[in-house]
């Protein structure tokens, strides 16, 4: 996190004349992944509550999309370490700022952790991990009942924590956008819109 920490420290507050926004690549990754992750949560609970033939394609999609998310999350983390993030509004209370940072770390931990837990759970369960029907991944853990159970529970409960954190995150984004109107929503809002088109962060 050094690069982002630096950005936050050197750019003081938000009274700079330039509009601080996430880079286009970060915005693209954010929205692409938001769609994928929401889909994953729905696919996950959907597949586990059906015994119809759609169970199998749902499971296959779940595994494959889960790996795509893992790869994208690692790229996104690298981009963030290099490019940094725009500073939060200077007038945001410190506790809220801390909450914002912690929730973002939490989201990163889940974006990277959930796929690893899924992969680990299948490995510990002695299952082959096969994507798209024929891409065979290696097992990352030796078979073990105890590990399978721990990882299954973690994957299960963290999935719901993930949903809750996203709901909180979206609520906060809307609060910034519509109640505070402080430019935070705009800093991530559009994938393509040029800087000038957005309301400046004051």
């Amino acid at each position: 996190m050094t690069a982002s920490a630096m950005t936050r420290n050197t750019v003081t507050g938000r009274s700079t004349s330039a509009t601080p926004r996430f880079s286009a690549l970060q915005r693209l990754l954010h929205w692409l992944m938001a769609v994928c992750i929401l889909a994953m949560l729905f696919i996950g609970v959907g597949m586990n509550s059906t015994v119809t033939p759609k169970y199998l394609p749902l499971v296959e999609t779940h595994k494959t999309l889960g790996f795509v998310i893992l790869l994208l999350a690692l790229i996104r983390l690298a981009v963030r370490l290099v490019v940094g993030t725009p500073p939060l509004p200077a007038d945001l209370p410190p506790l809220i700022k801390l909450g914002a940072h912690l929730s973002h770390y939490g989201l990163y931990a889940l974006m990277i952790g959930m796929p690893l837990l899924g992969w680990g759970m299948l490995s510990a369960g002695g299952y082959p991990v096969v994507l798209l029907g024929h891409i065979q991944l290696p097992a990352i853990l030796a078979p073990s009942d105890a590990l399978h159970t721990v990882l299954w529970n973690a994957h299960f409960y963290l999935a719901f924590a993930f949903f809750g954190l996203i709901a909180l995150h979206v609520g906060a984004a809307l609060f910034h956008g519509f109640i505070r109107r402080d430019g935070v929503l705009e800093s991530m809002a559009s994938v393509s819109a040029p800087r000038e088109a957005t309301r400046p962060r004051k």
């Binding site: 586990n48 059906t50 015994v51 299952y127 159970t149 519509f178 109640i179």
Partner: protein, 353 residues
């Protein structure tokens, strides 16, 4: 923020956003089945297998009584005509499996269980796995997973009319009941044929798809016996017998693949295909070693019949998907109940040769 009065329109937008979050949460709960108590979920399907006294913790929720085996599959290469799966190319490949009884009770006496099964895992040279779980009746009792659930519910029901109602709604069950009553028994797993019953699709090197079912047909001569004779042999005869028999010499089954004609039903394992369908003998399963389940390599394996190599795929048969969902549920339960599994209890009475 200071000096920026909150505008009514923005509050409305925020409220709409909050409503969208609430709606998404509702949709999530609906997708998870929490709002649909009637939906047949893996949890309900597996719960229905439990006998009235509750499930045997730590054990498979069905086919709970079993014993592990290892050996090889000697593929003769003839199956390659139907499927490009590595396991059907000529060669010898590791095999791991489990002989079992179709009961939720790990201590059920052999002669009280009509259906016997085999779980099997074959590993091709490139490491890809083919898992299967097959049983000895020539057809399945019911046509759909829902009907299987209804059967379980009816058979555990206290309502004396429940089974009658079930049979009236699922007439195919009568054929199975006839088999269960009339078919001879054997005194050995080595004399039983194990049938896929579900139809699968084999995909050949050119990409052509062939609907098939398969059976592992025993090479050992079959000696039919009655259930009374089996009862007289003792409650755990099958495991003791197979351990002794394999210790004396490997036991063999031929993999016989039956190819459907156009129009043969692939979506209903209760309907047999006509006897004149073309078959291919693709190789021999050689069982070389028996180990007790509690120490054996088969215990912690889920013989999920949808774990298939490239070259084998599910068909429009609705069972494999339902089974995959149910077996995962059973596996999750039993692997989390290790403390209830009798690792050390009566460790000396087993059938290990």
């Amino acid at each position: 923020m200071p000096g920026t009065p909150i505008r009514r329109g923005d509050v409305a937008k925020f409220a709409i956003g909050a409503a969208i979050i609430a709606a998404a949460t509702g949709a999530f709960a609906y997708t998870a089945g929490w709002l649909s108590p009637g939906r047949l979920t893996p949890t309900r399907l597996v719960a229905a297998l439990a006998p009235p006294g509750g499930p045997a913790l730590g054990h498979r929720r069905n086919h709970a009584k079993g014993i592990c085996f290892t050996g090889v599959f000697e593929s003769n290469g003839k199956g390659a005509e139907l499927s490009r799966a590595g396991i059907l190319a000529a060669g010898t490949y590791p095999a791991l499996g489990r002989f079992n009884l179709g009961t939720a009770d790990p201590n059920a006496p052999d002669a009280t269980v009509r259906v016997r099964g085999m779980g099997l895992q074959l590993t091709a040279s490139d490491g890809t796995l083919w898992r299967a779980a097959m049983i000895d009746p020539p057809f399945f009792p019911v046509s759909t997973p829902q009907a299987f659930y209804d059967l379980l519910t009816a058979s555990h029901s206290k309502d004396p009319g429940a089974m009658k109602g079930f049979i009236a709604a699922n007439p195919e069950f009568g054929t199975f009941a006839g088999w269960a009553k009339g078919a001879p028994w054997t005194a050995s797993y080595a004399e039983d044929a194990f049938n896929s019953l579900n139809a699968f699709i084999f995909i050949d090197a050119a990409g052509a798809r062939h609907a098939v079912r398969w059976s592992f047909v025993p090479q050992a001569p079959v000696t039919p016996i009655t259930d009374a004779e089996l009862t007289a042999l003792g409650p755990d005869h099958l495991e003791q017998e197979i351990a002794q028999r394999v210790a004396a010499g490997p036991q063999r089954w031929n993999l016989v693949i039956t190819i459907a004609d156009a129009g043969d039903p692939t979506n209903d394992p209760s309907k047999v295909w006509p006897a004149d369908r073309r078959t291919i003998d693709a190789g021999t399963l050689v069982v070389q070693k028996i180990e007790e389940e509690r120490d054996g390599p088969c215990r912690d394996i889920n013989f999920d019949p949808t774990i298939l190599p490239d070259g084998i795929a599910v068909s429009d048969d609705p069972f494999p998907a339902a089974r995959s969902a149910a077996y995962a549920r059973s596996f999750n339960l039993r692997t989390s109940e290790v403390k209830d599994y009798p690792y050390n209890a009566t460790a000396t009475t087993g059938a290990t040769p």
